[in-house]
Subunit: 137 residues, 2 copies
Amino acid sequence: MTLRPTTADGPFDIALIATRDPAECPIRDVLVHLGGKWSTLILLCLGSAAHRFGALRRAIPHISKRMLTETLRDLERDGFVSRHVFATKLPSVEYRITDLGHSFLDPLHGVLICANGHHAEIRRARAGYDAKDSAQV
Amino acid sequence: MTLRPTTADGPFDIALIATRDPAECPIRDVLVHLGGKWSTLILLCLGSAAHRFGALRRAIPHISKRMLTETLRDLERDGFVSRHVFATKLPSVEYRITDLGHSFLDPLHGVLICANGHHAEIRRARAGYDAKDSAQV
DNA sequence: CAGGATCCAGAAAGATACTG
DNA sequence: CAGTATCTTTCTGGATCCTG
């Protein structure tokens, strides 16, 4: 199976989807991490400026310390962000986006523009679907 | 807080992140669904051609019937794909991408290109991180 | 301040069996 | 063929308390 993406952006073979080992498939191996509830949010935040832990918490409402720590570790592990500890009196840690992380910023931003632009449409679709659904039951 | 994305793609306010109600935030409301393990895979598959249920299963290894059904329902609910039932002898159902879904194809594709291009780098970063990690323990 | 450790309810997801 | 139903296991994420 060789699918051709509608965008003629180059020879990108979606047959990668069908890779036997999920770990070899960039779609699954990379996107699953980016797809996490918070990764994109954090990456975008750090894309605009370096943030300290507390600043990130304030910038991203509703995130718990636990999830912030965990997601930052994951992003660090994947090489998207770097961690810089300052041995000040009270510990302070700054997170920065790396070059690798930065290279994802534009593509991600494109998705966001799209999500933002079609948000109303999506919510309308949902409302319609749910209305039909509850009517039949 | 008004963050400016590094891409000067237009006036996209990342302060949307800080929206009080998560449901109002396109980033969370849309991306959380797209971030699911399978949504992107399915959307890309359907972007290349309409598929029937069974064909999708074959195109996307490792997905269970249950997850495929569920993810398709979600995508249908959000208006990304449409469902067409043919009353043939044995039921056959075809899934197609909608215009709305199609508008996400290019941005998503951009992310994939990026993920694909940097996959090796990411895996190296992981290996390095894990090596340091286990060395310290 | 930044985060580690622990507990725990609920969501997500796999396996299997059944149906029109 | 295209699901649905059910059971079970795994994962997620929030709350809370603790430390250097």
